[in-house]
Symmetry: C3
Subunit: 335 residues, 3 copies
Amino acid sequence: MRAFNSLADFSDDEISTLLELASRLDRKPEPQALSGKVLALLFLNPSLRTLASFQAAMLRLGGGSFVISPDMSIHGLETRPGIVMDGAAAEHIAEAVPVIASYGDAIGIRAFAERRSLDADLADIEFMSMIRLIETPYINMESAINHPCQNLADWKTLDDLGVPANSGKFVLSWAYHPMALPLAVPASTLYMAARRGMDVTVLRPEGFALPESVMQSAREAAGASGGSVRETEDRGDAMQGANIIYAKSWSSTVHYGNKLKDHELRRGLEDWCIDEPWFDTAAKDCRFMHCLPVRRGVVVTERILDGPRSVVIHEARNRMLAQMAVLHQMLGPES
Amino acid sequence: MRAFNSLADFSDDEISTLLELASRLDRKPEPQALSGKVLALLFLNPSLRTLASFQAAMLRLGGGSFVISPDMSIHGLETRPGIVMDGAAAEHIAEAVPVIASYGDAIGIRAFAERRSLDADLADIEFMSMIRLIETPYINMESAINHPCQNLADWKTLDDLGVPANSGKFVLSWAYHPMALPLAVPASTLYMAARRGMDVTVLRPEGFALPESVMQSAREAAGASGGSVRETEDRGDAMQGANIIYAKSWSSTVHYGNKLKDHELRRGLEDWCIDEPWFDTAAKDCRFMHCLPVRRGVVVTERILDGPRSVVIHEARNRMLAQMAVLHQMLGPES
Amino acid sequence: MRAFNSLADFSDDEISTLLELASRLDRKPEPQALSGKVLALLFLNPSLRTLASFQAAMLRLGGGSFVISPDMSIHGLETRPGIVMDGAAAEHIAEAVPVIASYGDAIGIRAFAERRSLDADLADIEFMSMIRLIETPYINMESAINHPCQNLADWKTLDDLGVPANSGKFVLSWAYHPMALPLAVPASTLYMAARRGMDVTVLRPEGFALPESVMQSAREAAGASGGSVRETEDRGDAMQGANIIYAKSWSSTVHYGNKLKDHELRRGLEDWCIDEPWFDTAAKDCRFMHCLPVRRGVVVTERILDGPRSVVIHEARNRMLAQMAVLHQMLGPES
């Protein structure tokens, strides 16, 4: 495996193999598998779970990692192409990325959406421009539009919970948040659930529909897997018989990148805070999923988050196991 | 071992075993003992020794660790219970702690006193509320009232120096410092010295007596171990025949949490800076101990700190060895 | 090996051995060589390459490292001797350095020039005062005047490129930069090239001559190795037949430590930005070297940096290999 960028790059068999490997490495540790191997971790944005779980994943396999973030360099890293660097930044990503990659057997990169242009973010311009600088195997640790480690971990969580692939009902619900957040998680989660063969409903208020290209990819994946994809603003309808509600806030796509207009649009949507009444029409054991971090009392109520429906900690732990599987395939004895 | 929170939780035999193991691991390294094992390190407060010595301890045993501090998450971590998170913090400790713990075979947590309420800090409310969120074995890396790794390291230092357990004279002295500092080190150091069977004198100015419950625990420990505990403001009396002076500044307990009143109380106490004349009535080879960091020329003079009485670097190195023993028992082959 | 501070401390044979070892460890990994060994890394200044490459180097040899920088301690580290610490800093380097060193089998220290006094910086006063506090084997990770890891990596790069030792022409060129930068890289690079036996030209504008003692050491090294050292402001003359141009900005030595006067002196020197016309009289395959970080469009043009002349990424990767050789000799099985 030379790249782990999107579930769309892998066959069903390859995904199954990764999921089985993740479970096997949990049951049966391999503390020598990546002996002497190094993972470079480049964070252009803050992180807690990804930072911790990748370091832990390498250690459990007998390897190690190092972390670089822009504040470790002198006055940060310049990302703009073709610039005369007479300002604050003393180093350009054009050197930093290949140098950091050259110290690792693989590199993980996190670079959130810049949210200047929806088309640029959907094409993952910034992340792909960094990838073109290197030949080292790489892992997407969340880019403008992808978060494959989260997707693989969530797929494993659905398997662990025994949620059926075909016929399972998965609701991806927009939730209120004071800020406009990126599309990487909702877009790639939608794809994952559709790809798994589930009946997926995107539940979101007006103005927060996902981009048509994102919906289209998911529909195609569902077509191939025997699942389905639809969208609605009707909460009761969406939640009918649901096995899973996966909550996430995201920015408006009609006013993408416009903080002011996005803010106007989300004003009055504070009741999009997942709470027990949402589950009235759901399956009895319907679970609550979220990639974290989550704002308590804003995105979801405390009683849901601290109650039996929530599987968020289980999900977060699966991040480590999913990444161990990816690293094992990328750097391990049979790689 | 499921928890390392206070020496009070361990029998004399268990403490002896840890001390012997610490020495053995110094003489005879075990670079494979914790192969593939991961220690999660969560620092809610700054650190230098603890940060370095825990990482080094895991590495020497063939394992590894990762470090999380609040500034690594998006806009910090919220700690208040029951809050609607519509402010800056994007993540709550209620998720962060169990998630981080789930990536480790054990977790070390540092959370200093909030100094809002003396009773709350004596009960270690904040630290214990985090511990209740997890099932992972844990290590207290300094809480509001405990610092067991420092205590075990200091006990080892006393052994290394050949200071007799029974009949050894140990002075825990308050020292001047421009700021009101927590009680964790003085309270737990007092307990350690009493538990070791030493004749302990707490030397402090008026207004800086340790809380009665802290004194009472120490008296009980001394009662069982054959030691003794007393307190005084009389420097010459306290230092009479002393083998050890252990210096530490701490906040006033009569104006606990009140910076202004504490400041008034400590004004004029600048001569509580340990210097050679303090040792006039002490045993000839009386040593100076301090947990570090220490303010030169404020808490202690340079000639003491750089002279033959000081064992502070030896003490600091014992932090690593003590923690190796704890980690070996918690995660090692026989754990 | 107890210290890696300057190439001047090593015989030709010892340098050859290090270079061969660096290449061998690249071809034939030794993932168990430093099992259970710990490198302490103390950064008093920012770093990217050094930070990443030392961590990667230890991991590839089966050991590990921990990183300490002043912002991890409470309110930073005090460095001034004999001070009464009643200000912000809560810890002095006099404790911090020996404590950190005591947790490692070796320690790497970075401490840039203070640029208060040229004589003090040429004598490496600050770095040497820290070294005197410890007995642990140490590595200079860039001090006021030395950067031996860069030098060894650059020597290896010259070997890798097949640039002849004797008769090879090496131009060390000053370049424009908005700020006054330290002398460590130009001074130690000059020595390295002279020591390797090359014909070295220092190309710099008026006011930016390197200190006489630096030139003198280089001349002596060239005398012994069969190389030569000269200086000029004439670009065409300097570049005549050159195999390598090594660009670096440095502060004026006539107004050392005086930012204002240095600034006046460098004003109008913006055309000292290495570009293709510089190579008109050079050898056809003349290469561009730089230690990084480099300011694009200021120190060197994009077309050089992104073109076939540039070997800066190769150089940076050699940092890791050179340091693996040093660590292997310092801490390895035969050490």
